[in-house]
């Protein structure tokens, strides 16, 4: 755990469950990514953690923002961002949200269907638009299913129609899936994007932008490739396809920007042998799948755990949340081991939980209040 956070815990009486996030670490992450790919525009994926102190710090660093809703756009404005720094990056937008965004000057919108593009043409006329491509999500721990994106052929057709409807066909986007651990996923996706550029150029439409999405992984229990492995693969692929004429590059990091900046502090509510079997102990925490750990669904994201007994003898455990819901099991198949001494009332830390925790948290499932949040 980072020393700023451990000092904060030591010096304050904080109740559990809570999220503690070091905003300086967000700045270090931003700078690391900026240095690795200096020509890339960093559009922070606000949905990863929309807390005001994070947004304010990123505004100070001249970051851009990827917003999923009109409500997230408002949060960015509250933090001091200009509308021109914000992309409306959800392929599914309410008409009223498009109208509101257009009215205050948001310039860039995404679509992946004729129906959404027509909504943008009508309610945000003349705007820069980009079409989301569907790409392989192999290698991602939190993939995106078939919910978003369309084929290269269809994207080409839609971007031509977008121009005919008075929009500015600005570029294409894709998303290789969240917590993507294979740099080659970007190479394959950039090839698809490049083919849109070529086909449309032959028809007199010059795209100018590729949005590489997010997906950069962070370390949970296992090592992941360094960010430079991804940016090198991206750089090589861009040079291969575009030579000296590289379009504007946009990145949408969320997890990479805030994940390792935060930890969840939680209390063991019960550690029980559960009968006379030789099975693992069950350790029940005061946070579970409905208290913010939604990404443990299917045990997709496996957080690293720190306890005050680390170094002592451990044994296998099943980890579960505090609710009466049978689905609220965190890890049962992922071979977690925790110290045998661990007992009810002890505090433990779930590391790298700065992204996609506070916002997934339910309003009051089983009566439990949302976790507290501390930005330091």
């Amino acid at each position: 755990m980072n020393s700023k956070i451990s000092q904060f815990i030591a010096n304050n009486q904080i109740s559990t469950p809570c999220l503690i996030l070091d905003v300086d670490q967000v700045e270090r992450n931003y700078n690391q990514l900026h240095q690795a790919i200096p020509y890339g525009g960093i559009y922070y994926a606000v949905k990863a953690n929309p807390a005001l102190p994070i947004l304010k710090r990123l505004v100070a660093l001249n970051s851009f923002f990827d917003a999923a809703s009109w409500e997230e756009i408002q949060l960015c404005l509250d933090a001091g961002a200009k509308p021109s720094q914000i992309s409306f990056g959800n392929t599914v937008k309410k008409i009223s949200s498009i109208q509101s965004a257009y009215k205050i000057g948001v310039e860039m919108y995404v679509f992946d269907s004729i129906e959404e593009m027509q909504k943008i043409a009508k309610h945000a006329p003349g705007s820069k638009v980009y079409c989301r491509l569907i790409v392989d999500n192999l290698g991602a721990d939190w993939p995106l299913s078939g919910k978003f994106g369309t084929t290269v052929d269809h994207a080409v057709e839609l971007l031509i129609q977008a121009k005919n409807l008075g929009l500015d066909p600005y570029g294409v986007s894709f998303h290789v899936g969240s917590q993507q651990t294979d740099p080659k996923a970007y190479t394959a996706a950039i090839e698809k994007a490049a083919s849109c550029f070529t086909t449309l150029a032959a028809q007199g439409i010059e795209l100018r932008m590729i949005n590489l999405g997010g997906g950069f992984p962070i370390r949970y229990r296992e090592d992941v490739p360094e960010i430079e492995e991804f940016t090198t693969a991206i750089q090589q692929s861009l040079l291969h396809h575009f030579g000296n004429n590289i379009p504007r590059i946009i990145l949408e990091p969320g997890r990479f920007m805030v994940g390792n900046a935060g930890i969840v502090s939680t209390e063991v509510v019960l550690s029980s042998k559960r009968g006379k079997t030789n099975g693992p102990r069950w350790v029940y925490l005061d946070i579970g799948r409905f208290g913010g750990l939604a990404e443990t669904e299917g045990e997709a994201i496996r957080y690293q755990i720190e306890t005050s007994y680390d170094g002592s003898t451990t044994g296998p455990v099943v980890l579960a949340g505090p609710s009466c819901d049978g689905v609220d099991v965190i890890y049962q198949k992922s071979n977690y081991q925790l110290p045998l001494e661990l007992t009810a009332g002890d505090r433990i830390s779930l590391l790298s939980t700065g992204a996609y925790v506070s916002t997934y948290c339910s309003t009051r499932f089983n009566g439990f209040a949302p976790l507290e949040e501390y930005y330091i």
Copy 2:
């Protein structure tokens, strides 16, 4: 849809997504269950929907309450319930919650492990306790996994130890799984409960209560057995095992009490053909898995849908939520069909969504506010 709710929608300008719940229907459900099993104490599972108007109505009907947390106990007290009407029905309780509940006079506590029972013995001395048995959840659409309950042998051992620690070994409980459609599930579970009674009686411990849990199903897309089929099976099983000496019977209905009393009104944000394929349309709603429809995980609970075009030509659809999360797909495999005319801006209703929706809802995922709630 029930006419009181449709009139409310017609007469009010309500924004989506929202939950509208008819509290009179809750009363009808309570009375139906009470008539079907008049000797059963009805402990409403507060977690299904803890809204104050529901709790107040149930207090007026002399209902009891099953609380999952100290916070839910407080909600019951706020609604006018007496501590003696409340059971603390979570096998995983914080010590501070046990202390608080004991202090105000809550008399009944559950456990399924030695560790939890010792916590109760220390912090709620002398209380009535019951041990949760693990039983088969076959036939349940929302089963409970291995998270709760212990074997008959172990339960017997724990109840003896409970007595030795000064607790009152009151009975046993089980849960056949939520949305259980097979009445025989109760028969098999009651047999297990009865064997605890017999074994303990031989050792001088007279249990006096069986808590049958919840699980009674309601109609979603498919018909389910009437409640009387369940209560008849329960009655026969109790007579078979206990003759004229039937112990106190407790029921913990949640879904059965409030599910069919509520509907979710939601707006179609986008209806799109998603490319040039012949696949189904994708219909994106302004509520999804993280806006309250958590029980659609794995498409376990399949809500019935009403639109204003019902009766016109339909076609297959995939239903998804409004967030940028690929996991936020509601129904992809369950063969949903919706009218071809349905388009962005139309409102549709998800029926029987009164239970397990409002509380699962996330605080602000993707910036979206929790759904509004109307109790009429």
